[in-house]
């Protein structure tokens, strides 16, 4: 079976916001229609559908995309990159000619709701969670607190570097009219914000919201006839190095992104120094730090100083998370990094455009699992 080159030809979001009152289907429909319009495609052109959140077949049928030749609902996995890679794989192998990938995410209950007992996270006692819940460990903010604590010990980073990171991301968001948080944020304001699970602060966390994102993959050949400049998938990689219990990982500073990056760079002639802009998951800010190091975009352990020196700013040597990141555009679970990378390579980012961007990497998740995709404009 001959592998075909794959391109991204359409990207779109639903009307993202806090407690929108809309269903998963509603967000999926809005995002898909936006992505089809972006590409200049119709529902009848789509013959593959993948999603995390909701049901790929249900969304496709609702939108008149049928019959499907490829469909997949992914389970717990490295965020949007999983449905994205499986959509790209379907096109590469000829199972599908034009495949849409979704990430639909509904806002989760707040800690106040959980503390009051009004809502519960997960089952009372599964075979694994009985080793976590009785110790008061329920929330991803807690493994992220453990990870950040260990990362501060293992690396050159300081809490001030995390403050710089938050401030720079917000500066990027001020240039993105679709960001949910656009008020400039100083490093001092970050440091004054409350801890959630110390050393993790509120402003290290992505911003909860309802969101729908969709990205359409097709062949390079087809892409050349469509509305947008083609963005090509140069390489992609998935990784898993542990089961889902982040809390008992023996090395929390060198996790799946390290293995994932090795796979990614082994599948391309491009090198880390070729990357013009990086869009790196920030569900918790320590994740972006790990990706910068894992991908070889800075020296091991040096992401903190690298950020503080201004490299990741717009105008710096490697602009990172140019849409403002999920801390500011809201929790789109990695899809925003794919969409922002695509728009940067098309040259459509306006005030936040990285001049002449030709190579972009986007990456999702951390700890047990990870995924990444390298995109080019030619």
């Amino acid at each position: 079976m001959k592998s075909r080159r794959v391109a991204i030809v359409g990207v779109g979001y639903s009307r993202v916001g806090r407690h929108t009152g809309l269903s998963e289907r509603h967000h999926a429909a809005q995002a898909a229609i936006a992505a089809l319009d972006d590409a200049g495609l119709t529902a009848a052109d789509i013959d593959g559908s993948t999603t995390w959140g909701g049901d790929a077949i249900d969304f496709a049928y609702m939108l008149g995309m049928n019959p499907l030749r490829w469909h997949l609902n992914v389970g717990v996995s490295p965020a949007f990159v999983t449905p994205a890679i499986h959509a790209a794989m379907a096109v590469a192998t000829g199972q599908s000619d034009t495949c849409i990938a979704f990430r639909i995410m509904m806002q989760q209950p707040s800690s106040a709701t959980l503390a009051s007992g009004e809502a519960m996270l997960g089952a009372t006692s599964s075979e694994d969670t009985q080793f976590l819940y009785p110790f008061g460990n329920f929330s991803p903010t807690q493994w992220a607190g453990l990870m950040m604590n260990r990362y501060l010990y293992d690396s050159d980073a300081t809490e001030e570097h995390f403050a710089e990171f938050a401030s720079i991301q917000r500066e990027h968001a001020t240039r993105n009219e679709n960001a949910l948080q656009r008020t400039p944020l100083s490093a001092a304001e970050y440091l004054a914000a409350p801890y959630i699970s110390k050393p993790l602060r509120l402003l290290d966390c992505d911003y909860p919201c309802d969101s729908g994102s969709a990205v359409i993959f097709t062949t390079e050949e087809r892409a050349r006839d469509l509305r947008q400049p083609a963005v090509l998938v140069d390489a992609m990689a998935l990784s898993a190095v542990h089961d889902m219990n982040f809390e008992v990982m023996a090395d929390m500073s060198h996790t799946a992104p390290v293995h994932c990056a090795e796979q990614l760079w082994s599948r391309t002639d491009l090198r880390p120094s070729d990357v013009d802009t990086a869009q790196l998951y920030d569900g918790f800010s320590v994740i972006t730090f790990q990706w910068l190091e894992a991908l070889g975009l800075c020296e091991p352990g040096a992401a903190g100083p690298f950020i503080a020196e201004g490299h990741t700013r717009l105008g710096g040597s490697l602009p990172v998370n140019t849409d403002g990141g999920a801390c500011n555009v809201g929790r789109r679970h990695g899809a925003n990094f794919c969409i922002e990378a695509t728009r940067q390579l098309r040259g459509q980012c306006g005030d936040r455009q990285v001049p002449g961007a030709e190579v972009a990497v986007w990456a999702n998740a951390v700890g047990p699992f990870a995924g990444a995709m390298l995109l080019t404009s030619t």
Binding site: E127, F131, N149
Partner: protein
């Protein structure tokens, strides 16, 4: 009777019962492969090293070092509201490199917590039905351990 919230209920399975029975008896027990000696946590039906299914809970020394910790400032369950702030920690047990357990560190001031410090197990009854193994500074126990 009080209306104080209950801790999260633990429903042991045949695979995990040894851990909770041990805690109730004041012992830290960790699953160990009887064929190759590998300790495994969290409990699994098979040894990831040799694929033996002959696995049993064994009492371990209770000595560990602090790998990572986080001070929980927000509660995500009613029982823990009155316990804030509390320390969630990942510790490396002395028996085997990379043998990690998630637990709490108790009776150590936050300023005295440092990565790599020596810890020992102790036990805390959250309710008449539930006792959990937690850790404290080895130095606070003194020469008796």
């Amino acid at each position: 009777m009080t209306d104080h919230p209950s801790p999260p209920a633990v429903v042991p399975s045949p695979l995990t019962a040894f851990f909770w029975e041990g805690a109730a008896a004041g012992e830290l027990r960790i699953q160990r492969c009887q064929a190759c000696g590998t300790f495994i946590h969290l409990p699994r039906p098979v040894c990831r090293r040799c694929h033996s299914f002959d696995l049993r809970g064994e009492v371990v020394s209770g000595r560990a070092t602090l790998y990572a910790h986080t001070v929980t400032m927000k509660a995500f369950h009613p029982f823990f509201v009155s316990r804030l702030p509390y320390v969630v920690a990942t510790v490396e047990l002395a028996e085997q490199a990379g043998l990690m357990l998630m637990t709490n560190v108790v009776d150590v001031a936050e300023a005295d917590l440092h990565t790599g410090m020596d810890l020992v197990v102790t036990f805390e009854a959250l309710s008449p039905e539930l006792t959990i193994p937690v850790f404290t500074a080895a130095s606070s126990i003194g020469a008796s351990r």
